[in-house]
């Protein structure tokens, strides 16, 4: 499924992120800057623990970044799911763990990343900083 970019209207109104989990559409409130920064720090810590085989820093564009994130999901799925539910704090993890597919969680995580790292390459820079 092609990823839809958030419109200016959605950004201005801070519209929730709509993801599909367990076949149903779920709204996730967008974290405000302070909370988002805290989430990023926690996420960065998780990524820092990644095995060296995952080279997100090599990703040059959005597609490569997406692929790198997929690798992250494959190698550290638990970390990603954990990070996802840390962001989507209004959701009850147990409720979705039974119904949501891995693909749905991967797509939802991707959407969260896009909002939490609005400058596409921020993630790369963050990862680079962690790598140093």
């Amino acid at each position: 499924m092609a990823k839809k970019k958030r419109s200016e209207e959605q950004k201005t109104l801070i519209s929730p992120i709509v993801v599909v989990l367990g076949g149903e559409e779920i709204s996730i409130p967008v974290l405000r800057m302070r909370a988002s920064r805290e989430w990023r720090e926690a996420f960065s810590k998780s990524v820092a623990e990644l095995p060296g085989s995952v080279k997100l820093t090599d990703a040059g564009d959005t597609e490569e970044l997406g692929n790198a994130l997929k690798t992250l999901l494959i190698t550290m799925p638990e970390k990603c799911v954990e990070s996802f539910f840390l962001y989507a704090r209004t959701l009850k993890r147990e409720a979705f763990e039974e119904t949501a597919t891995d693909e749905e969680v991967a797509a939802a995580f991707d959407q969260i990343i896009e909002v939490a790292f609005p400058l596409g390459k921020s993630l790369l820079r963050a990862i680079e900083r962690i790598g140093k």
């Binding site: 950004k11 801070i14 405000r32 302070r34 790292f117 609005p118």
Partner: protein, 75 residues
């Protein structure tokens, strides 16, 4: 600078704005500044069409009648 521009305290932004909104606002501010800069530069580039008052009088030539104070009865 940004705070002065938006008249919003930093704490309010951190607590109420999303990263996306913040970046959008910054982009819009940059765009506006760019438009303002171009608007200022444009007349300067077209400044060749502007002439000094001396040049204007010269160009107007005979169509301009200079009335001296004496002629108006002013001593």
């Amino acid at each position: 600078m940004l705070m002065a521009e938006w008249h919003v305290p930093p704490d309010h932004i951190a607590e109420n704005w999303s990263d996306e909104l913040f970046l959008l606002m910054v982009k819009k501010l940059i765009d506006r500044r760019e438009r303002e800069r171009k608007a200022i530069e444009k007349p300067e580039k077209e400044g060749r069409n502007l002439i000094s008052s001396e040049e204007l009088i010269e160009q107007m030539g005979s169509s301009v009648e200079v009335i001296k104070g004496d002629d108006k009865g002013i001593s």
